[in-house]
């Protein structure tokens, strides 16, 4: 056996697995993530799917990829540029190449570079055979062939499964390269196939090991790498995607409130998975309702809230538009409903699988009349859990709907999540009135502190009352067109939202408490902004970062913080929507850094904007 090359310790590495959508790249990436976290690395992942269910094999449109950053410290993004690319076919090479830095390592499955595949990828010549890849370290491996050898003797293996295991060969090879343990994947294989299909299990196992051993024996690599262990607070961890985390957060909130969770949904990318995660949870008293459309999902949620459930819905941009009218009814009837908008690139159908933050102003203003509601936005996949609980807390407190702005990036990417003890989660129980006071019940008599109206549940004797979408007399809730009643109710509906500022956390400043430049962000751009700011700080620049999880109301110290910096830069995956709100509200010269390309920010893009800012001010 040849001597294994030296193992070099590194802080971080970005790997991208890319292949045809039939090549199992999502599974490969997911297993790699698992092995990494089990070996105590920190990770951040970004899956990329083709828009089509099954795009024609071998084409550029059919490429499926999974990018992951593995590091020894708190990392925040899946990385700007892959250090290592595993390319299972020509199309995936072609699609990924523009993302790679010079000198990147490329492991290619040479067997897939057939004339037919090259043509489908639009290559006129085989890039492995001209010098177009000379700036990279290309490691050509005949993966298909080697893998066939490895699994050929597995008894009872259907021949059509043989090539389906080749991703495990590649995975094994990469495990070797990064000195990662095979065990988590071996266990997973056993759990998944062991009983149902021992031949497939055996084949996958052999493929994995063959890949690993191939690394060890083939002397193709000059170096191996090991990422140091990350420092995690003690606890039990799992990986979690944003959509999973929202689902769990809602279930947890329902339990903490002692309520049935009603989740209404109409499938839509990239929100559907929330429904898929919740539907199996019937034993948690989860009622999922796949409605005929988004209007019905929202209407049913309003009904469920009226009847006393924890009511939530989830959708994406086009569905938000359809929900707007019933959502406005919830504003007017003053009922708590959590409305999750997993934003995607618009306008119209746009690019359903691509990320964008284009719905912020819609969340604020996308309803007729003066219709204030609560708006929150998680910053990372794991935070989707906490913010779901926060959304419920605020909705119950103010008796008002919440728009929860997730996005396609948060929804699908994953990070380690320290599993909380359910006991430590806040209680969310509601004091529903149990009977009339002084012989009567006033459904719009507001709590003097929160301005919330009482949440009286149908079925309670003596509290029979009527609500609706027409304007009301204060306290009684009787229909009224009186100018002063309208004026007062409009203001009270606004004020009860504004008062929540007293019970939400102030913004934390990352960096100097005052100084030159403040970056303000919200939602999934958190990681890229934080990383860029960190780099700029490392260069000695006076730069700070504030990230908003609460958008309506804004945290109460926001204005004061904004005024402490000479400049404000607002990176957003839109044309400057938060920037516009800050400018209008505080008359500060917030400058927008827009990106509307269906992709997350790269750290470097934000860093470059910071540098520019200093250059212009210099």
């Amino acid at each position: 056996m040849a001597k294994s090359p030296e193992i070099q310790e590194v802080h971080r590495v970005v790997i991208r697995f890319a292949g045809d959508s039939g090549d199992g790249m999502q599974l490969t990436g997911s297993q790699f993530s698992l092995a990494s976290v089990v070996a105590r690395k920190d990770i951040s992942t970004l899956p990329e799917f083709p828009a089509e269910i099954r795009a024609p094999a071998g084409t550029l449109g059919g490429v499926s990829a999974f990018q992951i950053q593995v590091a020894d410290q708190d990392i925040l993004t899946p990385g700007d540029q892959p250090d290592v690319l595993v390319a299972m076919n020509p199309a995936s090479l072609k699609v990924s190449l523009p993302e790679l830095p010079r000198g990147a390592l490329i492991i290619v499955n040479t067997d897939a570079f057939t004339t037919a595949n090259l043509k489908k990828a639009g290559y006129e010549r085989n890039p492995l055979e001209d010098d177009s890849l000379k700036d990279y370290q290309v490691i050509p491996v005949p993966i298909t062939r080697l893998n066939r050898d490895a699994v050929k003797d597995v008894e009872g293996l259907d021949s059509k499964f043989v090539d389906r295991t080749k991703n495990f060969f590649a995975l094994g090879l990469v495990y070797w390269l990064f000195d990662l343990p095979l065990e988590p994947t071996v266990e997973w294989i056993e759990k998944k196939f062991g009983r149902r299909n021992p031949a497939v299990a055996e084949a996958n196992r052999r493929a994995l090991q063959a890949g690993y051993h191939f690394g060890e024996t083939a002397e193709l690599f000059q170096r191996r790498y090991r990422i140091r262990k990350a420092h995690f607070p003690p606890g039990t961890y799992r990986r979690i995607t944003g959509n999973e985390a929202v689902a769990m957060g809602l279930v947890a909130a329902a339990r903490k409130a002692g309520k049935t969770l009603f989740y209404g949904a109409y499938p839509i990318t990239p929100a559907s998975d929330i429904l898929h995660h919740l539907a199996p949870l019937r034993h948690f008293d989860v009622v999922t309702f796949q409605a005929e459309d988004e209007i019905a999902a929202m209407g049913a949620a309003v009904g469920a809230a009226f009847a006393g459930a924890l009511a939530a819905v989830g959708t994406s941009g086009p569905g938000m538009l359809l929900k707007a009218e019933a959502l406005n009814l919830a504003v007017m009837a003053e009922l708590p409903v959590v409305v999750i908008d997993v934003q995607r690139a618009g306008p119209s159908t746009g690019m359903p699988t691509k990320v964008e933050q284009g719905d912020l102003l819609m969340a604020f203003y996308g309803r007729n009349g003066e219709s204030p509601l609560i708006i929150v936005a998680p910053a990372t996949p794991a935070e989707c859990f906490d913010m779901a609980i926060e959304a419920v807390r605020l909705a119950f407190r103010a008796m008002a709907p919440v728009i929860y702005l997730s996005d396609g990036f948060l929804a699908n990417s994953s990070e380690p999540w320290r599993i909380p003890d359910p006991e430590d989660l806040p209680s969310l129980t509601v004091d529903h009135p149990t009977g009339p006071q002084n012989g009567r019940f006033l459904p719009f008599l507001r709590d003097p502190e929160t301005l919330a109206r009482p949440w009286a549940l149908p079925g309670t004797p003596g509290l029979e009352h009527r609500i609706g979408g027409l304007e009301k007399e204060p306290e009684t809730g009787n229909v009224s067109y009186d100018p002063q009643h309208h004026w007062r109710m409009v203001q009270e509906r606004a004020e009860k939202i504004a008062r929540l500022a007293e019970v939400i956390p102030e913004v934390d400043v990352y960096g100097p408490e005052e100084g030159d430049l403040l970056l303000v962000g919200w939602g999934s751009t958190y990681g890229a902004i934080r990383e860029a700011v960190r780099q700029a700080q490392d260069e000695g620049k006076s730069v700070a970062h504030v990230h908003l999880r609460y958008l309506n109301p804004f945290p109460r110290n926001l204005e004061e913080v904004l005024r402490r910096y000479r400049g404000i830069l607002v990176p957003e995956l839109n044309m400057g929507q938060l920037a516009q709100l800050l400018r209008a509200r505080f008359l500060v010269e917030a400058q927008s850094l827009p990106k509307v390309q269906g992709r997350p920010f790269k750290v470097q893009e934000i860093k470059a904007a910071i540098d520019d800012w200093f250059r212009q001010r210099a």
Partner: protein, 334 residues
């Protein structure tokens, strides 16, 4: 639903709000009957919820001293679905109009019917948009002149009964605002029916479509132009039951009894036959009223809560958050 029972009267179900329909509007009679019928169920007031959309008819909840929700145009069935799913113990009623329920809200009615959720839908059909002051409705007849069809409508109307039958409703009936005891009995049957119940109520709008149904409903015309459907009874009509419906080739034909036809030829109403109910729904003269169709299927919320119980059994009891959080691959950092 094991409802507690109480003794209440019509008055207990009247709210303190002034009723604001036009004098003479057919809605008054329906309101009175609903109040009476609710008392007849013997269920406590707090168990009733009435959900409406938007329209003259949809102001209904304000006049009932039960839980009520005046929602938005066409969406009452969706809100009612949410109420029933959140609390299956409530008796949930929807009040809607021909525009609210069949124009903007047609799809929700269709899907609520299909799912067989246990709600009772009262559709006040005045063949006009009342609240918006007199435009065409989907039940307005072809040729009708309205503000929006000044030269006469060019749209064939929808057949609400046929539509609900095709949608899968398990209880489908028709009654008339002025047929006091008939409307009461029909509503009572609907309320006792487990599953989706649809009742079309022909209603007179005195302002914008006065007399729409008079050809059938005026006292002196009823005998010959209305046929009362009763399960297991021959479908006879006419002052002295001298007419009847015969069923041939899948169609119902009115005949005069005598030489050619006798009572033995008259079809017997079978509310369990979907296709016969559909054939009856095509009949315009005489116009059938009563229960066209009724069958028992599990209601949507029954099936949903049944599933919840089953899954709990399968999983050995209610779920624990901690198990949920720990599902999937975990690792421990000490």
């Amino acid at each position: 639903m094991a409802m507690p029972t109480v003794t209440l009267t019509r008055k207990d179900f009247a709210s303190d709000q002034t009723v604001r329909w036009c004098p003479g509007c057919g809605d008054y009679a329906i309101l009175a009957t609903v109040q009476k019928t609710f008392a007849r169920f013997g269920w406590p007031r707090e168990k009733f919820v009435i959900i409406s959309g938007i329209g003259c008819s949809s102001r209904f909840p304000y006049y009932m001293n039960v839980y009520g929700f005046h929602t938005i145009h066409g969406r009452a069935p969706t809100v009612a679905t949410g109420v029933k799913l959140a609390n299956p113990d409530l008796s949930v009623w929807v009040v809607t109009g021909d525009g609210d329920g069949l124009s903007i809200g047609g799809n929700h009615l269709l899907h609520a019917a299909r799912r067989n959720i246990d709600i009772n839908v009262l559709l006040f059909n005045n063949a006009i948009y009342g609240l918006t002051k007199g435009q065409l409705s989907p039940t307005s007849p072809e040729g009708m002149r309205t503000k929006s069809s000044p030269y006469g409508s060019v749209e064939p109307p929808v057949n609400p009964i046929a539509l609900m039958l095709a949608s899968g409703a398990t209880f489908v009936a028709r009654t008339v605002d002025v047929f006091q005891s008939h409307i009461g009995d029909t509503l009572y049957q609907a309320g006792m029916h487990k599953g989706f119940a649809f009742i079309e109520i022909l209603q007179n709008c005195v302002i914008f479509n006065h007399g729409m149904w008079f050809p059938y409903t005026e006292r002196e015309r009823r005998h010959d132009h209305i046929v009362y459907l009763e399960a297991g009874k021959p479908m006879l009509f006419g002052k002295n039951h001298e007419r009847g419906l015969v069923f041939r080739d899948g169609h119902f034909y009115p005949v005069v009894l005598g030489e050619e036809y006798t009572e033995a030829d008259v079809a017997v109403h079978d509310p369990s036959s979907l296709t016969q109910a559909f054939a009856l729904a095509q009949l315009r003269d005489p116009l059938p009223v009563g229960v066209f169709y009724q069958v028992r299927h599990p209601a949507y919320e029954e099936a949903m809560y049944h599933q919840i119980e089953e899954v709990k059994k399968q999983k050995g009891g209610p779920g624990h958050l901690s198990d949920l959080f720990h599902s999937g691959d975990t690792w421990v950092v000490a």
